[in-house]
């Protein structure tokens, strides 16, 4: 009996630690403390669970924790910062899979007695399984294992039919009280297929929102299975994450001006559908000219994109920034909400290079300043500075908020080649009168600019 009191009291502390931890993570100053608190909560929860009365299979439990924990710990340690989003996706998928597996065991044991419990177990299993395969597909796409967006003919109809059939099987399970093994297996297979088939047509650019959505899904699934097990720690942590994840998903989708229903049912597939042809020509600029333009400017805004991160040029960019600042130039960074592969991803990458976060500004904070800026330097960003999002109603990205780099007196674009961006849409900014292109890898070009600036100081 006393073990039970100890466990319940500990779960209570765990819930408090999780909520305080998440709260602390919502501010840059306290964020590091937040993850440590949440981490302590997790350790406490895991340790006291071993005291659960009548537990068996201790060897199996410890073995599974060691294998799963060590593999994930190691993979999380070695992954590059640019690859973080897909790691979040895959860990999240595993959580969803775990929730679905819990439901599977409960079905196998025949321990589900009331219709409420059966409903939540079934819902949790569905959501968890969808999150599992969906996150795996998201991982494969971002990792480059799956290059194209596959789209079935009548994709939405297929999704719809599969979804409805899965729900019907789920209702049959709930209604039957003691569902047959075949029914349960059918249900899990359908749910797993559903998650994969929803995610495959979605393009890489929309993936962050989808990962966030699956994160919320896993939270809900964990909360529901927590009810099935009568475990308050799971309920609270799961539902808190479910609600927080839903809000986060909305914030991300809003930043991209892509309603979630559009992302799921009307994905940008790769080739630009519609959109007027862009006229004019691109004008090239040497690294030397770029260096002198910025060295003798008063205000420079740097717009980093995923291209910079992939090249690993953020350290060089920060070095260049410091040189310009010591020459009296006011340099700031403008981050589009979806720069990188997830909102805030670019901030993390710049922070890694040592850029203080107070130099990094959001779209709303900085967009009005472009008109008074001498040079806007675009490094490896494309769609987020494409003015057609403001002007061309037929463009697929019309209405997406963009950084107004085109309004700066001069715009320098560092770009690897002449191709179109991630979404495959031509960028009118590159053809604009006051835009100059520097072709080359971000690292190479910025390196040249740095040496030119240094020689000007001599």
């Amino acid at each position: 009996m006393s073990a039970k009191v100890l466990i319940d009291a500990s779960y209570f502390i765990v819930a408090v630690l999780f909520i305080l931890g998440l709260k602390a993570m919502a501010s840059p100053v306290t964020a590091r403390k937040g993850i440590v608190w949440a981490g302590l909560g997790m350790v406490l929860a895991t340790v006291v669970t071993f005291l659960t009365p009548h537990m068996q299979n201790f060897g199996l439990i410890i073995l599974a924790i060691l294998i799963g924990g060590a593999a994930a710990w190691w993979s999380g340690k070695v992954v590059k910062m640019t690859d973080m989003p897909q790691m979040v996706a895959i860990y999240n998928g595993m959580g969803g899979g775990a929730a679905a597996a819990i439901a599977a065991v409960e079905f196998a044991r025949g321990q589900i007695h009331s219709p409420v419990v059966a409903t939540l177990a079934t819902l949790g299993a569905l959501i968890g399984a969808v999150s599992f395969t969906g996150s795996c597909v998201a991982y494969a796409k971002l990792q480059g294992l799956m290059k194209k967006a596959y789209r079935l003919p009548a994709q939405n109809a297929v999704n719809m039919i599969l979804g409805v059939v899965t729900l019907i099987v789920g209702i049959m399970i709930i209604a039957s009280g003691r569902p047959s093994v075949n029914l349960v297996i059918t249900f899990f297979v359908l749910s797993l297929i559903l998650g994969a088939i929803i995610t495959t047509p979605i393009g890489g650019a929309d993936m962050p929102v989808v990962i966030s959505l699956f994160n919320a899904f896993t939270g809900l699934a964990v909360g529901f299975e927590g009810y099935v097990l009568g475990n308050p720690a799971l309920i609270i942590a799961g539902i808190v994450v479910g609600a927080a994840g839903t809000l986060l998903t909305q914030l991300m989708a809003k930043a991209m001006n892509r309603p979630i229903s559009n992302i799921l049912f009307n994905p940008i597939t790769g080739e630009a559908q519609g959109g007027q042809a862009v006229t004019g020509s691109m004008k090239e600029l040497s690294a030397l000219d770029a260096a002198s333009m910025m060295r003798y400017a008063q205000k420079v805004i740097i717009i980093p994109g995923y291209g910079m991160a992939v090249a690993g040029a953020q350290h060089k960019v920060w070095e260049m920034t410091q040189l310009l600042e010591s020459a009296g130039v006011d340099v700031r960074f403008a981050i589009h909400p979806v720069a990188g592969r997830m909102p805030g991803h670019m901030n993390v990458l710049l922070a890694e290079a040592g850029v203080p976060y107070d130099k990094i500004l959001d779209l709303e904070e900085i967009n009005a300043d472009f008109a008074q800026t001498d040079v806007a330097l675009v490094i490896g960003a494309n769609d987020v500075v494409n003015p057609v999002a403001r002007t061309d109603k037929s463009s697929p990205i019309y209405g997406m908020p963009i950084l107004n780099a085109d309004q700066a007196h001069n715009c320098i674009v560092i770009k690897r080649g002449q191709g179109a961006g991630y979404s495959g849409i031509e960028n009118a900014l590159f053809y604009s009168e006051n835009t100059r292109m520097c072709y080359g890898s971000a690292n190479g070009v910025v390196g040249e600019i740095i040496s030119h600036i240094k020689s000007m100081e001599g």
Partner: protein, 96 residues
């Protein structure tokens, strides 16, 4: 657990989650998504209970998978979040 108590817990937890995130700056969206991903790693605890009660080979197998996946969610989520947050520093005192 009593049915209505559980519903109260669901409701309060949902509001808590919403409030905690409501005023978060954009720069923390990714770390926070990662952090909340870690928090639902507590599914590990449920998986442990289920495996602890498993009797047949089938139950043990699925339970083992559940614990394996849950542990990976928790451990991976922690490491990745910790690494991201370790990078936040400022040259002035906390801006905003």
């Amino acid at each position: 657990m009593e049915g209505f108590v559980a519903i109260y817990i669901f409701m309060l937890a949902a509001f808590t989650g919403y409030e905690v995130i409501a005023r978060v700056p954009v720069i923390l969206h990714t770390p926070l998504m990662s952090g909340s991903n870690f928090v639902h790693g507590v599914v590990l605890v449920g998986a442990m209970v289920v495996l602890g009660e498993a009797r047949t080979g089938l139950e043990q197998t699925i339970g083992f998978i559940a614990v394996l996946l849950g542990a990976a969610n928790a451990a991976g989520g922690y490491v990745v979040t910790e690494r991201m947050l370790a990078m936040f520093k400022s040259d002035k005192k906390a801006g905003k």
